[in-house]
Subunit: 419 residues, 2 copies
């Protein structure tokens, strides 16, 4: 007997027929003797509909009330899946965030899970029930509903798996695993059998939107074995414990044998580039730029400071999420006098291309191969950032697909044959 | 300063524009110095959508999970109205059923409110906040969401008004008050300024669907002054404390001056007639019929037992809600041997017409006028039932409108002039 968490996304919950298919899938795991908790997303499109209502009601909506509204989507699917499971002969009940409870911080609309009380859950599982838990939601110290932010259901699933000491957390999604790159761009992309938490973190944060970044970080911290697998396979699909998807594991579990130099190529078009022209070249100048952005909770990613002009000033370029561009401009305009820059220019027509792999720790030349390969194709590099297991460059958006394709080949990631 | 409860139905909640109009209406009451709690329904059509999902998932759905699903509709509108009020400059917050809490019985899908803890609510109102409360929902002893059954938001509003000792409970609805009869049938129907609880109960239970019956019974028991008024009037509408709608009051408040002989004529096409032919004419026979129906929670309304046939048997006719007809037939077929009847016949093409008025207590001849008036038009009476303030007859459905019209005239209820 294993304890597993199964998580299903919005596409799997889009309509009763699909919810019934999910129930059948859950039933197979129960029939195999497993204790199962299921974490569900809202029906596809429902969260957007509810967020739309909030925005229409007020552009400056109260996040506490927003949470009351948007958490309803997962509440609905959790009840419906419990009904569908019962109809399939599987004892089941729903547990809303406040019922377990799932305790969160009070950062409404992007709360963090602080604690999950598993006493009721354990009793329910021990009694042979499937526990159906709405993802994305919890309750704060004041007993108000709190949500975790977009994609938070993945985080819910991993947190519940950690709290109930599950043997595995299976994330059923639109794709059947994690690929070396986006197969829509590179048909020869290969599905990875295993990927490390660190690699997945880099791949997720740079645009391989299989799993929410926070959920991967949490899985790493708590040592939860996460498997990504497809929800679109029928009754004859292999059982999840045969690991048909991609397993996200620690570097130890990956082992040396399976370690590749480069695991994947990711791309992200959701960055915007800001350049502040003629910033005074003196101590404290850079802090004056980034402190107000940090205060406004805006994530700055790549930063380049050019060498100083003769006039004692310099240009500073950096990237922010495109969704935060307008707010960033507002914040920087308000701080213009304090920072002392002359002009602000911005550009959303940029893309970040990243090469990721734990193997690069012990191999030199990864960055050099990247720069050479892009240079040969005439692709200009606007900014560079690196980490232990990643090299990222910012390029003109129009070159995204070309860059991904040539890098995929350059690092030997192309599958030998495509059916 | 008064304490008032304002309740808005699904049509008033159908879309953000209307929710904003509701917020404006609430703001006027707050600006007039009142403490206000608002009870909201789900967006028009939403509850049906959610019920449809449950039925599609399983015809035998678990009412506990059904409650989780359908309560989401009011949760959504409560959050949205709180956002719209804040946007209008009115401090507001939502209070879900489990947050106050509103304690209910565990009869899921048709729970009864048992207690409302007003401590948090009182503090919120005292702090100058408008409390927005989803109707229709509460929480049972096991901390599971429970709903009150269709139309339960009226009951929520009255129960909250009673608990917080509100001066008035204003029910905003599609109509602008209670009429002497359905104005779609009788254009000369008049709006009633006041109606007693008892009359409203009879009018509601026989088909004048302005207010849910349970809410009227509760208002009577708790002495809550309920006003029915239109949600479809703009900024220049009279303030609710000028009582522009219909006030539902006690007989004492009504007073002798305003007492009419007959208050209204109601009709109800949602009854079905069942006749058991050749039931043994012996003690206990009738009990054998109605005990299993009661056990199945089916409400029997009109009952007629014909005089015994020569053969020592009799026919028994009664009505049940049309929605319960199939179940009734099933129950009676199972009990056929025990009851000993020969044949069961049924008819859904019937209508119940009722003449209601507290004035009839002190006046004879009301029933006689009814029978004569209907007889003159050739309308056959299939069954009769009476209470202290009501006479009801069962007739063929096709004659409904004719019967209502001639009775409205016969009792002098027609307005003198129609604009």
């Amino acid at each position: 007997m294993a304890r597993i968490v199964m998580k299903f996304g919005g596409t799997s919950m889009a309509g009763i027929e699909r919810i019934r298919a999910v129930a059948a899938r859950v039933k197979r795991e129960v029939a195999a003797g497993n204790q199962v908790a299921v974490v569900v997303s809202a029906m596809a499109g429902e969260t957007d509909r509810l967020i739309g209502f909030c925005r229409e009601a007020s552009s400056l909506y109260d996040p506490k009330e927003y949470d009351v509204v948007v958490s309803a989507g997962e509440q609905i699917t959790s009840g419906l899946l419990a009904i569908a499971l019962q109809a399939a002969g599987v004892p089941a009940r729903s547990w809303l965030g406040w019922q377990l409870p799932i305790a969160t911080s009070d950062a409404h609309a992007s709360a963090r899970i602080e604690n999950i009380d598993t006493s009721a859950l354990d009793a329910s599982l021990a009694a042979g029930e499937v526990a159906v838990i709405p993802g994305f939601q919890g309750v704060d110290d004041d007993a108000r509903v709190a949500t975790l932010g977009r994609g938070g259901s993945d985080t819910s699933a991993v947190a519940i798996a950690a709290a109930m000491k599950a043997d595995r957390c299976d994330i059923y999604t639109d794709v059947d695993g994690v690929y070396t790159t986006d197969p829509r761009i590179v048909p020869r992309a290969r599905k990875l059998k295993k990927v490390t938490y660190e690699e997945m973190l880099e791949l997720a944060s740079v645009g391989a939107k299989v799993l929410q970044t926070r959920s991967v970080g949490l899985a790493m911290k708590e040592g939860v074995r996460v498997q990504v697998l497809s929800s679109f396979t029928g009754e004859d699909a292999p059982m999840a414990d045969t690991l048909p998807g991609t397993m996200i594991v620690s570097e130890e579990e990956l082992g040396d044998m399976e370690r590749q130099l480069i695991t994947g190529i990711a791309h992200d078009k959701n960055e915007a580039k800001i350049t502040l022209i003629a910033v005074p070249d003196k101590p404290g100048a850079v802090a004056a730029i980034f402190a107000p952005l940090a205060a406004a909770n805006i994530n700055v990613d790549m930063i380049i400071q050019n060498i100083a002009h003769a006039a004692g000033s310099t240009d500073v370029t950096f990237t922010v999420p495109a969704a935060d561009l307008a707010r960033s401009i507002e914040v920087l305009t308000q701080s213009r006098e304090k920072i002392g820059y002359e002009t602000l220019v911005h550009d959303t027509r940029v893309a970040k291309i990243s090469v990721v792999g734990v193997g690069m720790r012990s191999h030199a030349g990864v960055a050099s191969t990247m720069f050479t390969t892009l240079g040969e194709r005439g692709i200009n590099i606007q900014a560079i950032s690196t980490s232990e297991i990643k090299v990222s460059v910012l390029i003109e958006e129009d070159y995204t697909e070309l860059a991904v394709r040539v890098l995929h080949t350059a690092y030997g990631l192309d599958a030998e044959d495509v059916a």
